[in-house]
């Protein structure tokens, strides 16, 4: 190179400044070498994406090292010496070089394109007869997973004829936004089976994302999405909505539990067995029939289209009363809970959560006079004011 060691040392300060990039980047990558790659894939499709990522990553790093090396070399090698006023050779360009550094990148990106297209065809491949089909309903700001038996569409699970045949998993937001004692809703899937998700949004755009599957898909209202995956590693994986969907977007988490086929079937069976019926919930249809003894007032409230039909209710103070609550949203769970002061206040009553179309009569204990909020535990944006006087 023809450069004396002395000259290099004179540049020490400068080298330190410009070398900051290399130091910093290597520091970062050393510190987090484990996370410089996506998570280990837990699905067949995810593994295909992961293999593609590894190739793209290696090529990207090679280009980075090459070009960053050229920049650093130029910066170190061609520094103007003090007192050197001579003009360097005035080179305006070189057509051969231009052709080389146009053609080689074209070759690289075209190969990457072909490679990624092939991977895409693997990742997005669909089988016409997936053994497991799950309905996924996304709404502000939770998830719902619906397992319908063969021959029943998940959309029809709310129909009276299908009562008790479907399993519905839904999440409720953590109390006060505190995640520490909270389990997001869990989707169970069998390992090594192709699972089809039929995804539907009832309000805004959400996105279904499981990092361990290296996959996400937007769920746009009016454009139901069908995706398939084959999980191949038993375990519980986190998932989250990635499309910003409003106020509590950050709480739209879920889990995917990949389990053996036997465990999966056992779980489905357990969920299908009706839980012991909570005693205050009376039969549907006859107002006041199931109300607890001593109540004199029955308030009526209906949920449809993920909204209550009333925003104001009034109840007598210091007297138990009941709420006849009709959930008209097929397959969508709602309830009525009462919070002191506002929707974020202390919960003083929580009614059973159930899926529509159905009704329940809630027996609410005596409340002191004051202002309360009634809220759906599943949909915190369904609220109204309850005045007790």
């Amino acid at each position: 190179m023809g450069l004396g060691a002395k000259r290099w040392t004179r540049r020490a300060g400068f080298v330190a400044a410009v070398g900051a990039l290399a130091v910093l980047l290597s520091a970062c990558t050393d510190f987090n070498l484990r996370t410089a790659l996506p998570p280990d894939a837990a699905s067949v499709q995810g593994q295909a994406s992961r293999n593609l990522y590894d190739i793209v990553f290696v090529i990207g790093v090679a280009i980075f090292v090459l070009v960053e090396g050229l920049i650093l070399f130029a910066v170190l090698r061609y520094r103007r010496k003090s007192g050197d006023d001579e003009l360097p050779p005035q080179i305006h360009g070189n057509n051969r070089l231009e052709i080389i550094w146009t053609a080689i990148p074209i070759a690289i990106v075209l190969s990457l394109f072909v490679l990624s297209w092939q991977t895409l065809n693997t990742v997005d491949a669909h089988t016409p007869t997936p053994p497991v089909r799950i309905g996924v309903v996304a709404y502000q700001w939770q998830w719902q997973f619906i397992y319908a038996p063969d021959g029943v569409r998940w959309e029809d699970c709310g129909a009276p004829a299908n009562k008790g045949k479907c399993v519905t998993v839904f999440g409720t937001p953590p109390a006060g936004g505190d995640r520490s004692n909270w389990t997001p809703p869990t989707m169970h899937v069998p390992v090594n089976e192709t699972v089809e998700l039929q995804m539907h949004s009832i309000d805004v755009i959400h996105s279904f994302y499981v990092p361990a599957f290296l996959y996400q898909r937007d769920i746009t209202p009016g454009r139901d999405q069908v995706i398939q995956f084959t999980a191949d590693r038993i375990g519980t994986y986190r998932g989250q909505c990635t499309q910003f969907c409003g106020l509590y977007h950050q709480l739209m988490e879920f889990q995917v539990k990949v389990e053996s086929n036997a465990d999966y079937v056992a779980w489905l069976q357990q969920e299908l067995t009706p839980p012991p019926s909570p005693s205050p919930s009376g039969p549907a249809g006859s107002p006041g029939a199931g109300a607890a003894a001593g109540t004199s007032v029955t308030l009526q409230l209906t949920a449809s289209g993920v909204a209550y039909d009333k925003t104001d209710l009034t109840a007598p103070a210091n007297t138990p009363f009941s709420i006849l609550f009709a959930n008209n949203d097929a397959g969508i769970p709602h309830n009525v809970s009462i919070h002191a002061g506002s929707a974020t206040g202390t919960e003083v009553f929580k009614g059973e959560i159930f899926s529509g179309v159905d009704t329940r009569t809630y027996a609410v204990p005596a409340l002191p006079a004051g202002t309360y909020a009634f809220v759906c535990s599943v949909h915190p944006n369904m609220t109204g004011t309850l005045t007790v006087k």
Partner: protein, 545 residues
């Protein structure tokens, strides 16, 4: 050319009235610069709010509602009121000077373009005192942006403000195009124009083709929200949420080139000056710029890979291909430095910083062109890392390079080089500390735009690191602001040509007089001032091409 009579007899007024009513492209350029600088600080404060909240899990400092306003307004301010107008300000100041023109073609429209900016910024920020600014993200996707889900007046103000910004951009683009095509000095052929002028020209074409699409989409959204329209409202018959994404990205992807091409132009002026060499491959550079502009309109749907509503192979291929002209530029810049005599002024440091950081933004952009990889990192912090390596590592580094390089021309005084170098080192370190960890957060699955995250997700350390980096950037801005202050108080006089520049702005005084030139040197190459300086040198040294 005996043109001394061109200089008007009136004194050079600098009072407030003059600044408010000026149609001088240089003063308007300076107004653009300071307006953008002030809003850069505002947008930076929003960014610090976001980073502060994310420093550790749990909501410590603000509610989700505040957080959502912060990240929405951070992006909106930085894109529409900082990067785009900052670069338009450089264009305003430099294009007439660089092509030897006395002013822009339409000076009064030029003033209008500028004054729409502070007005619109105030309108958008007015949301804060009026019950909450826009909080749907700068992408404002429908149906979330419909009145049913975002009833606040902040969103309407945001729409009105962006419509005004769009109007300002369109007027400015027409002005640049007419100025460049019709007002070049004798001898200034298209292929002798400085590369910065070329990038401004291509940018203007992009603005003229893209911005009307966004502006009309915003008006449609306003109709949806306020007059029961159903362009994008899926709750009504015919409303299509994907349509919004198509029209939004049809502008907003080219907007990335609108925000990077002029910064590339700045770097292409700074590197040759401080390498004492011509730009390597001038024509290749011009064709690459035009190529980016043309391909830029065929890649918008790569923002929509995960919608299930676009033809993936086409947009994947085009996105891969657009890396090629960008790569050509990168190699030409490096070749410009090769065998040069490099002088590391602050402007040069920022230009080299641009190369090394924009390189990362370019490579991780090409990674995202692979659809299955995008399936994994789309809408995660990987995207946040990518866009900041492009817009901060690229555009903002380029803007700082330009500020240090042309400040002496604008104000006749040199910025302090020591403070400048401290500024550079702080920004460079802070920038990498903030944005590099975001790649890793995204790869491990952290979604963007979340106010809080689970403490058990493994994101705590990297978020803390990014927050430390964010405050490092904020602290590094202090020597810069101090530098501006002391330079106004009494910086070293600059002289006409402190850097031994190549282009025509260095052939006039600092600051230039109204109407710019008393006398123009002959223009026989893309470096007329270099030719003038070395007119009597040994022919072998200056032999052209």
């Amino acid at each position: 050319m005996a043109t001394t009579a061109l200089r008007p007899a009136a004194t050079y007024r600098t009072g407030a009235y003059d600044w408010l009513t000026t149609t001088d492209h240089k003063k308007i350029g300076i107004l653009y610069t300071f307006n953008s600088l002030i809003l850069f600080l505002v947008g930076g404060i929003f960014a610090l709010a976001v980073r502060t909240e994310l420093a550790q899990p749990g909501l410590q400092f603000m509610t989700e509602s505040t957080y959502n306003q912060m990240f929405t307004m951070h992006a909106s301010v930085m894109i529409f009121w900082v990067v785009i107008p900052f670069l338009a300000g450089f264009g305003n100041y430099l294009v007439p000077l660089m092509i030897g023109a006395p002013d822009m073609a339409f000076p009064r429209i030029n003033a209008l373009s500028f004054w729409l900016l502070p007005l619109s910024a105030l309108i958008a920020l007015l949301g804060f005192p009026l019950g909450g600014a826009a909080a749907e993200g700068w992408t404002s996707y429908s149906p979330l942006a419909q009145s049913k889900f975002s009833s606040g007046v902040g969103t309407d103000l945001w729409i009105v403000a962006l419509t005004l910004v769009g109007t300002s951009s369109i007027l400015g683009a027409i002005n640049f195009m007419v100025t460049i095509f019709k007002m070049r000095a004798p001898g200034m052929t298209l292929f002798r124009m400085p590369v910065f002028v070329w990038t401004t020209l291509v940018t203007s074409v992009l603005i003229l083709m893209g911005t009307p699409v966004l502006t009309s989409a915003l008006i449609m959204l306003y109709i949806d929200r306020n007059f029961g329209g159903s362009f994008f409202n899926t709750a009504l018959a015919g409303g299509n949420a994907i349509l919004w994404q198509n029209v939004f990205w049809f502008y907003s992807h080219p907007a990335v080139y609108i925000m990077i091409l002029p910064a590339m132009g700045i770097v292409s002026e700074v590197l040759p000056t401080f390498s004492r060499k011509p730009l390597f491959g001038y024509k290749a550079f011009v064709f690459a710029t035009a190529g980016i502009g043309a391909l830029g309109f065929s890649v918008w749907a790569h923002h929509m890979f995960t919608t299930g509503s676009v033809y993936l192979p086409f947009f994947s291929l085009m996105t891969f291909l657009i890396a090629v002209p960008t790569g050509v530029k990168m190699f030409n810049w490096v070749a410009t430095m090769f065998r040069g005599k490099l002088r590391f002024t602050t402007a040069m440091l920022f230009a080299v910083g641009f190369l090394s950081l924009f390189l990362i933004g370019g490579i991780n952009g090409a990674v995202l062109a692979a659809v299955p990889v995008d399936y994994h990192v789309h809408a995660t912090y990987f995207i946040v890392a990518h866009i900041h390596y492009v817009l901060f590592g690229g555009s903002i580094m380029g803007i700082f390079a330009g500020l240090y390089y042309w400040w002496p021309k604008m104000f006749g005084r040199m910025l302090n080089e020591t403070l400048g170098k401290i500024h550079f080192v702080g920004i460079f370190i802070g920038m990498n500390l903030t944005f590099f960890p975001m790649h890793l957060l995204g790869l491990s699955g952290m979604p963007r735009r979340i106010a809080d995250y689970s403490a058990t997700a493994g994101w705590n350390d990297l978020n803390l690191l990014a927050t430390i980096g964010g405050f490092t950037i904020a602290v590094a801005m202090l020597p810069f602001l101090w530098n501006i202050f002391i330079t106004f108080r009494g910086g070293e006089p600059a002289g006409d040509d402190p850097w031994e520049g190549n282009t025509l702005e260095w052939a006039t005084s600092s600051p230039p007089p109204p109407y710019n030139f008393d006398h123009l040197p002959p223009i026989r190459s893309e470096r007329p001032v270099f030719d003038l300086r070395h007119a009597n040198d040994v022919p072998a040294l200056t032999a052209d091409h």
